[in-house]
Amino acid sequence: MPSFYHETHTIFGTHKSKILQWIFSIDHKRIAILYIGVLFTLFFCAVGAALTMRAELFFPGQQLIQAQTYNQLFTFHGVTMIFLFIVPGIAAALGNFILPLMLGARDLSFPRLNLLSWWLYILGVVIALSSLVTGAGFADTGWTFYAPYSIRTDSHVLSTLIAAFILGLSSILTGLNFVVTIHRLRAPGMDFFKMPLFVWGLYATAWIQVLATPVIGITLILVILERTLGIGVFDPSKGGDPILFEHLFWIYSHPAVYLMILPGFGIISEVLPVFTRRTIFGYRSIAISSASIAGIGYLVWGHHMFTSGISDIARLIFSFLTFLVAIPTGVKIFDWLATLYKGSIVLATPMLWILGSIINFTVGGLTGLTLGALGPDIHLHDTYFVVAHFHYTILGGVVFMFIGGMHYWYPKITGAMYDEVKGRVAFGLVFVGFNMLWFPMFIAGFLGNPRRYFDYLPTFTIYHQLSGIGALLVALGLLLVLYTFYKGLKEGKEAGPNPWRGTTLEWHIPSPPPLENFSKIPYVDFDPYEYEDGEPLVQLDENFRRIR
């Protein structure tokens, strides 16, 4: 059967040119692959920037780069990692590819809108990167664009702001598309509690995209207008209030953290049952906790502002609410552990990444609670402790989940297998390197090393040097991942439709899938993860009628 690599729909009908067939394709699978390509290119650029920073930090004092260059580097690194890579990340790449397959749909509800989202994303990327080479250099505000500095600095924040706005629009449209698709295009019989958990993660994410992103959108527009016209709302010299900017920024950006994490959690919930060969423990509580994390996540933004001059009552409330988010997250983690318990665990590469991510994320989450408590936060605010905390959650947690998911669905997307040994070695390198990279930073931060500084006191040297070596290991491991994937494409053996013995619908169709996924839409009267004696229970015939 010809796969979607051989034929496609484009927005203008058919094209001869292969390139146009890709960039104008409205097939969700091709769009997903376009995202994957661009996302990881940007990821590696941002890792490059990070390595440069780590190199500068290897010795105290100034060696390689100027202080101002360092400011621009961490801004570039932060903006790229957050706005260009991880926020769109899992949803736009894996979500786009897998969501319709999991639902038993032939595409998203709005395939053209999906293409538009991609083009807006590319536009945002181009505008953001253009400021590298035009004007007074890349922004130096950090990825948070705090006013009034972002109003006053001479660096090129305007284009970064515009880019972030356009990226927001793209993200909203993706979210909208997912919400409608999940509501409308589930295969007959699949009610909400028969959806795979990755879909639940994407669903919660989509609502955050839709409801939170407009807040940051208009806030960035206000900063743009502040810089160009001087409207006054965030400018203290005109009576405006920069603290309000922080409020509005974090009303988006805290939920945005969950927007990065929830699809990752979804990946964990897919990979665990498959590699323990049993149904997931607490399906409903995992599904509902995704939704409640998204909901509570809206109410906790104030924990970023404990030191910014908000009232004591507000601080207490935000601190309390922050602790509440830990409950549904904890529920999830215990469900996963319960799934592992007594499961016949298969330590394949996707599973390794997932287990690694659970470990790292737990460290990140617990240190997050430390920061959510008022007393410690006053001490730890804006130190490397915070930097270590969010790298544990985002890099050690979410990026690990993302890479795990890439391994898991690699055979579905490409039709080929990667080399298992290389995969495991790469994981080992990154896991060891990662912990060496960030664990010392908890200590350095605790001892008072502030973040966003290009220099530090000589007493901190040892931590930064350990960290630097760790960063190198991480980078090597990531390159090995890339190489493994590349080799798999070239000489991997054929995967077949279901190499992992998965149960969800995407494993019932050929790899790579044909253009419109399902020749016949199945009727779904089964739960997503049903195993019997370690084998998938449900079997469908070639007409997608259930035979077992």
Partner: protein, 215 residues
């Protein structure tokens, strides 16, 4: 196109929803989109509320500088225009395509008049030296700077929505011609009407906030 079916194990059939031509999906999608618009304007209302609370007296006196008659006329105009647009959709569904097109045309006309009045108001303010960042305004009390800052941002953003509305309605007219909108296929028109309703609703809130608190 024939309705596709999925069959369960007993052989019972269930209709399959497809991404092509899904009326309910299109409607749902647009409502979700309006929700995002609501969140966006919501932020501006929030900012307005906070600064109003801090500078109540200055906001009232600045508001009195605006021309309530022009603003009021615009409010009435928008009210009428949602009515014409709503009736246009109704007529379309009843198959009265010509009448429907005329009503959409009328709505576009009213929207343009709205923009004209808005532009003349802005013009007067600007000619008096009142605009964001102007020397005159920046020399005034901070309450006044903030009021006019928000005034220009909010009416500006609303005006942008009116312009988009005009574009959408013109597109509706084109689609009526080409048969993209027919009495039995009105989803684009319905969503445009919904959008226009939203634009008018926002103005209904903006008018008292900006024009009436000083009256």
């Amino acid at each position: 196109m024939e309705q596709e079916m999925a069959y369960d194990r007993q052989g019972k059939s269930y209709p399959v929803a497809d991404f092509k031509d899904d009326y309910s999906g299109d409607k749902l999608g647009f409502w979700v989109f309006l929700l995002t618009e609501g969140m966006m304007f919501g932020v501006l209302f929030l900012l307005y509320g906070i600064y109003f609370y801090r500078h109540t007296a200055m906001f009232a006196s600045s508001s009195a500088d605006l021309n309530i008659w022009l603003g009021g006329t615009n409010t009435v105009l928008l009210l009428i225009s949602t009515y014409t647009m709503g009736v246009a959709t109704l007529m379309m569904r009843q198959g009265k395509v010509k009448l429907s097109a005329t009503l959409v045309g009328l709505t576009i006309f009213i929207a343009i008049v709205f923009l004209g009045i808005k532009a003349s108001e802005w013009g007067v303010d600007i000619s008096h030296g009142i605009y964001p960042g102007s020397k005159l305004l920046d020399a005034k009390d901070t309450g006044e700077i903030l009021f006019f800052g928000l005034y220009f941002v909010m009416t500006g953003l609303h005006g942008l929505h009116v312009i988009i509305g005009i574009a959408l309605m013109s597109w509706v007219l084109l689609l009526m011609r080409s048969g993209g909108i027919r009495p039995e296929h009105t989803i684009v028109m319905k969503n445009t009407t919904l959008y226009w309703d939203f634009v008018h609703l926002i103005w209904i809130v903006l008018f008292p906030l900006l024009y009436m608190i000083g009256a």
